[in-house]
């Protein structure tokens, strides 16, 4: 059963990823991107990373793609859907794609990681809160995330906070307009801010 689900979700992901890339219409591409993220969430579920699956859908499909769609609507991408890439670009990128894909296939076909079987059981909850033997054991509970974030990965956690702040400021600064629109009759038509 799980095998079948794996094949389903991976096919869904890969197919919609491909459709994202070849779609001429940017909105269509964004839609297929969302499907890709849903597929990814499915794959995460198969790996017992339930928290991440939800996070994926919430953040990526929910926030990031909505932002993408807003921007697509904001910019005039009409004429962009009418032009096709020239033959040279298609051929060259096809060759590049084949190169990388063949590299990946070779890795897969010639063994890959050994051994590769996943361990059978994944506990629901952490066994012990402060056990010295593997405090960060793989569990499905969100509590382990919190535990890891606030002990081992405290510094990156704080840095990420700062990063978000900076990103916010950056976005505000970048989207500011520096010349006032010309108001008829106004003496100070352009105010530099």
């Amino acid at each position: 059963m799980l095998d079948f689900l794996f094949y389903l979700f991976s096919a869904l992901t890969l197919l919609s990823a491909l459709l994202v890339v070849v779609n001429r219409n940017a909105v269509n591409a964004a839609m297929f991107m969302i499907i890709t993220f849903v597929g990814m969430a499915g794959l995460f579920l198969l790996l017992n990373a339930y928290f991440l699956a939800v996070l994926q859908v919430l953040v990526y499909a929910g926030a990031v793609m909505v932002l993408f769609l807003f921007i697509i609507m904001l910019l005039d991408v009409e004429h962009a859907s009418k032009v096709r890439p020239d033959t040279l670009t298609v051929v060259a990128s096809g060759i590049g794609f084949l190169l990388l894909a063949s590299g990946v296939c070779t890795l897969f076909l010639y063994g890959g990681v050994e051994p590769s079987y996943f361990p059978e059981s994944v506990p629901e909850l952490p066994l012990t809160a402060h056990s010295n033997a593997n405090p960060l054991e793989y569990t499905t509970a969100a509590r382990s995330f919190g535990y890891g974030l606030f002990t081992k990965y405290m510094l990156p956690f704080q840095m990420t906070g700062f990063l978000l702040l900076i990103a916010m400021i950056g976005v505000i600064v970048l989207s500011k307009q520096y010349t006032q629109p010309n108001i008829a009759g106004s003496k100070d038509a352009t105010i530099k801010r």
């Binding site: 670009t89 060259a92 590049g96 990388l100 590299g103």
Partner: protein, 624 residues
Amino acid sequence: MELETLLTAILLVPLGSAAMIALFLRRGGYAAAAVSVVAAAVILGLSLTFLLTWNGVTQEVSTVWLTLGSYEVTMGFLVNYQTATMLFIVAFVGFWIHVFSVGYMNEDESKGRFFGGLSIFMFSMLGIVLANNLIMIFVFWELVGFSSYMLIAHYWDKDYAAAASKKAFIVNRVGDFGFILGIVWTYWQYGTTNLVLLDAQLNNDASTVLGLLLACGFIGKSAQFPLHVWLTDAMAGPTPVSALIHAATMVAAGVYFMARIFFMLSPETQEVILWLCAAMTLFAGLCALGQTDIKKTLAYSTLSHLGFMGAAIGLGFPSLALLHMAMHAFFKATLFLCSGSVIHACHHEQDMFKMGGLWRKMPITTLTCILAALSIMAVPYFAGFYSKDTILSGAWLLAHTDGRYYVIYAILLLAALSTALYTGRMVWVVFFGQSNSDNAAHAKESNLFMTVPLLVLAAFSVGAAWFLEFDVSLLPETVTVALKHGYATITQADVVHHSHYLLLGLSVGVMIVGVLATFFFYGPGASEDKLQRRYGLVYKILHKHGWFDDVYDAYVVKVQQRVADFFGFLDLILISGFMVRGTAGLAGLLSLVTRSFHVGSIHGYVYWFLAGVVIFGAFAFHLI
């Protein structure tokens, strides 16, 4: 004056004259002529000084000119009796032809170029005369070829003159190819190209092929079979050039060279040369009957007499060849200058059959021409007789030991007949009878510049050989020493002595037959060539001189040009295509690739990423 200085001065004076004309007097006209004539006079004076003060001892001086590792190229002078003879001829005949040119070229606009060319020619010729090693001879050999090229193309605006000069140079170069192979072989085998050192090592026992290779130079320069095709076309140059270069001196340089290196010629080489030149003698003599142009007739005559000289070498009498060369220089120069005088008076009309009756209008020219004609036909006691008949006697002498030489004798006798025929034809048609054109009717005697050289040279063509029989000598003592030897050897041999009257009778008889035959066949002052009219086929063969030109033409166009085109194509593809433009293209390609770094294209940058990943992957997969 010291010998070395004297000879260096003789060599360099014409070079100085040529340089002065080239630098300052290009449009000089009579000023250039004066410089050149003065230079020729100085050469004559210095040569006479040398000849009269030389003590007869063979001398050699040389300096090193070029050092290439262990190989040294030297420049030097070798002075022996042969040198003396040739030096006198070149200086003397050269001087009088310079004087003649002043008169002949009086209407020409490019006198500067002409006299500069004459001076360069004198320099090159004297270089050959005085040289002491094969390399130096070769250098001046080429220089002589160059001056000939320059002078033949004097009327460069005429296509046939430009083509003729190219033909002369190229055919000469073909001969020089063999020549240079011979020089290389000589150096390789004997370690030296110096004539004195080679003389000490050899005694007619060098390899036959080597001798033949060196003879290639002779064949090219002296226009023997099969490289004779250039001489008749070379008549496109002005008449003084034909007289000086293509009659008296340059073509004789081949013979002089053969005489100089006679010790290198094995008996087999001599035999080959003998048969080749004997055949040429007869063939050229007959072809002279197929020409209506007076200068071309004389050109074939020159070919024929060069054949005589070659035959003398082939018979084994180099001094005899020199003797005939000297006599030939005198009478052939006279004949050419006469023809020049006639041509000049008839306003550059060169067809014999449009002249006629000139003896009334140009008495001096007629007289000198008749004297030279008698000499070339070998009338007894004239200069030509002593040299030409002695060659015939030499063949007769050798025939007594080897019957094949009777054939040679017969060929040479027939050649003598043909000499009489074409000379007789020329004299009767040009000078006697009635005028055949307006130009001829209005001719008058040429000016002093032209007649004085004619008289002097005619006098020499009559009496130059008197030193052989009488005690009077028109030539300096030192000149005659070399020439007496061969003559004495032959005429005092028993066989020749006994058949003396037979031989004399034969040659005189042949001459009389020839003269009378032409008188009755062509008639004095004939206006058309009877041979052409009556015996068209014979005339055609002779006129086309055996279709040699056509054969060579076909070879060049069909074979050689195609080979050259093929190599040209290879050069275009391989050398300028792949190697030159290919490397440039490669560099361009590289630059185009690296240019993508600096263009603002995002895709370009991404492809570079991909390239990096691929290289990394190849590394990881142990491919590189």
